[in-house]
Symmetry: C2
């Protein structure tokens, strides 16, 4: 049986779990695939720290890995854009195949990484970088390549989904739920990248490249996190039949792309609403297959390493079959995009208003003057003040912003307290 | 760009839709994959019938397709075990790659088809044969090959799921719901293969081969359809917090395999309970990735043909890369199974009993004597008679059957009216 040698870069949560899976399931892997996978070196920062791997494998010198000719696959589990990206490029240029779980590095350097892998005829795979263990990037390649993909939306960040689940189910405030997530290991000490939607935007950028063949850097994706969400809007949304989820969404038509990461009202009977805690789910719409949903664990050592190890196996199979290597990713075409933005959506709006006769009439008139129609309105009166919650029918974000400016000038309107997208 | 020629066998629902997708999405496919796919012959029974394809492609002579050297891929969309299986074997032996949507033929001749494709170094793919457009067989290969798969369960038959959805949501009786499904094109004139669970058993047999590497012919899978289900048990199950779904399930441990197709009580908050109408969903548990769920359309021309076309693209990519061909399916190993059966499950039981004091005590004693514990009991009294609905804790089916024999001998018990599995 052919033996294939592998180097791991990093031996933290994902690196350590990758080592574990290749040990634990070695027999099945060999039996199913006909290849033996051997981790022969592991890059760490400090050899003296305790790791659950044989000490003899550890090295602190990356050059040693690059120089070892019989290492055919380099698995990057360091995290961060640098030095991870440079390390990957060096490996590709040294003729080694690369697997990574690093969405930040892949999103930041997508074109360079993909084109380098193509130029050096080696494979680059990053299944674990989006939605952890759910094999969705693989599915977006060949199995769905017969489709024109029209939409990719989903819950791709486990930390924020855990926090939102606590807020929805326990009625907790954001800070309280964040603290609990940190205690349970679902959020990091510095949660910024997760709670501000940056991690989700990295993943969406990768999904857009694979599903639509367009390169959209995260700076161009409208991104709103969950740190400003109030208990109150979670409760009002629930009352109106919705759960608020942090959705990463992209819809494509011939020449336009709508993309955003933002808290979104999802109807309670939609399957995405049932995705709780640290779970992730991806919804895909193809013009042939219709609607698909993929659900599973988006984070955690073993689930993420399951995808890393799957990529290793795909590459090992290709080596074993002497396949002419090609990056597994679809070709990126010259972009024909004429529009990139949030597009048209239904919206949830909460206004603070003075409680006097004619206030609804004034607001409704303003909406109507801006061509916006109201789907529903509810209110909660508290003495002189009142809260009004609207669900507005589909409207372009730009148009809505103009209407909000006009609303804020009405004497009856105290302030626009909350605007959230409603899932189409 | 490389052009790859393809023959379709059959131009019905799936064959016709495959032709349509390759036309409709030709540009994207060429752009994403770098190959041009051309359907150059289509086998039909009668050239005079109207088809939505150019007449010049039609042939009634299969030998002509086998003899055309530049046809590299044969796509079987005829249905039925024969002549489909023989046609596929002939194509493989002629050095042509084969794609099929035919679960009956694949389940019946799995080993022969797979070993012939390996022997002749050509590829055999059958993604569409299980759960239509959902790319689950592909996922069960490389992306999840790093896992020891422990369970595969799901709703894999759209016809029965449509009928059950009508029964659950509209309170219809089985016959009424079947008639409606037939009118809407979700059930065939002769619905036997679907409603008796045979179609689902074919799919489960294929899933077992891919997930566990074991060959289990459908005759060895305990199979119960939905045609005997009463409105009454649907309603009682709902009252107890469950929806009844036709589940195809297989669980594997080191040496034993539990496999069955049967109507099963699924807790209402489980994601499988949310799968309605003609949709399918597959639940997979791997020892690294944990729980995964794949959801989408399990039938219909375009969704099914999406998977067929996906397989064509995978093969075309392999041809394009000069990959040493191998059947894409995992190697089947010598079986170590010592047990194959329904295994241990929780059960729902409905008894008709006489309404007299002591009846529950007598029944409970009998269960206890057989080592079976009761999770809950509810009853509905109607004069002298009563119905008792039990949920029993996990017990081996064989043990349950012994207890039922004993129950039937009790003077208080009129009959065992219904036994259904409850999802673990
Ligand atoms: N954890 C998850 O659930 C998950 C899920 C999906 C994707 N990912 C991705 O997987 C990657 C790894 O995440 P992780 O959770 O495994 O992180 P982690 O537990 O922090 O592990 C990273 C390891 O790499 C080491 N490292 C960093 N830079 C190094 C360098 N220059 N030289 C040598 N060692 C270095 C770190 O050592 P120090 O501690 O000394 O810095 C640490 O031991 C990230 O890209 C992450 O986004 C993670
Ligand atoms: N339809 C679905 O939603 C679906 C989903 C998943 C999988 N599948 C599978 O896909 C396959 C095809 O199903 P389908 O729905 O497309 O069936 P279909 O609509 O009945 O089409 C089959 C076609 O093949 C023709 N045919 C059969 N035997 C032939 C022969 N010996 N020579 C020439 N032509 C022959 C039939 O012609 P006649 O009418 O003259 O017999 C018919 O036109 C089946 O294996 C099915 O299980 C179907």
């Amino acid at each position: 049986m052919k033996k294939i040698k592998i180097a791991l870069l990093g031996c933290g949560t994902v690196g350590g779990a990758t080592y574990k899976i290749l040990q634990m399931n070695a027999e099945q892997i060999a039996q199913k695939t006909g290849v033996i996978l051997e981790i022969s070196k592991i890059l760490v920062r400090d050899k003296e720290r305790p790791y659950a791997v044989p000490e003899s494998l550890l090295t602190t010198n990356y050059q040693e890995i690059l120089d070892t000719r019989d290492i055919e696959i380099v698995v990057e589990c360091l995290g961060g854009i640098e030095p991870a990206s440079s390390f990957m490029l060096q490996a590709l240029k040294a003729g080694k195949h690369v697997v990574t779980a690093n969405k930040a590095a892949v999103a930041a350097n997508y074109e360079t990484l993909v084109s380098t892998s193509a130029q050096y005829h080696v494979m680059l795979r990053f299944e674990a970088s989006v939605a952890g263990g759910i094999p969705v990037l693989d599915a977006l390649q060949a199995p769905l390549n017969s489709n024109d993909i029209e939409e990719v939306s989903g819950i791709v960040n486990g930390t924020t989904n855990y926090i939102l689940t606590q807020m929805i189910e326990q009625g907790q405030a954001y800070e309280e739920a964040l603290k609990m997530a940190q205690e349970k290991g679902f959020a990091e000490a510095d949660p910024t990248a997760d709670v501000e939607g940056i991690d989700a935007a990295n993943k969406l950028s990768i999904l857009i490249a694979l599903a639509f063949g367009e390169i959209v850097p995260i700076e161009k994706i409208a991104t709103i996190g969950i740190s400003k969400l109030s208990k109150e809007d979670i409760a009002f949304a629930s009352h109106l039949g919705y759960k608020i989820k942090l959705l990463a969404s992209a819809q494509k038509s011939k020449t336009s792309l709508q993309a955003s990461v933002q808290p979104t009202l999802v109807p309670k009977d939609h399957m995405l609403a049932a995705v709780a805690n640290e779970f992730n789910a991806l919804f895909i719409h193809g013009n042939a297959v219709g609607d698909l949903l993929f659900y599973g664990k988006g984070a955690g050592g073993l689930p993420t390493a399951s995808a890393v190890a799957g990529d290793i196996i795909e590459i090992a199979n290709a080596i074993d079959k002497n396949a002419a290597f090609d990056s597994y990713v679809n070709k990126i075409s010259a972009s024909h995009l004429t529009y990139l933005g949030e597009g048209s959506n239904a919206y949830y709006l909460r206004l603070s208003v003075s409680n006097r006769p004619g206030v609804l009439a004034a607001i409704a008139t303003t909406f109507s003057q801006h061509g916006i129609s109201i789907e529903s309105v509810t209110q909660e009166v508290n003495g002189d003040a009142a809260k009004m919650m609207f669900i507005l029918n589909e409207v372009a974000r730009e148009k809505l912003e103009l209407a909000l400016l006009a609303l804020e000038k009405l004497p009856e309107v105290i302030k626009v307290a909350c605007i959230l997208r409603v899932m189409n």
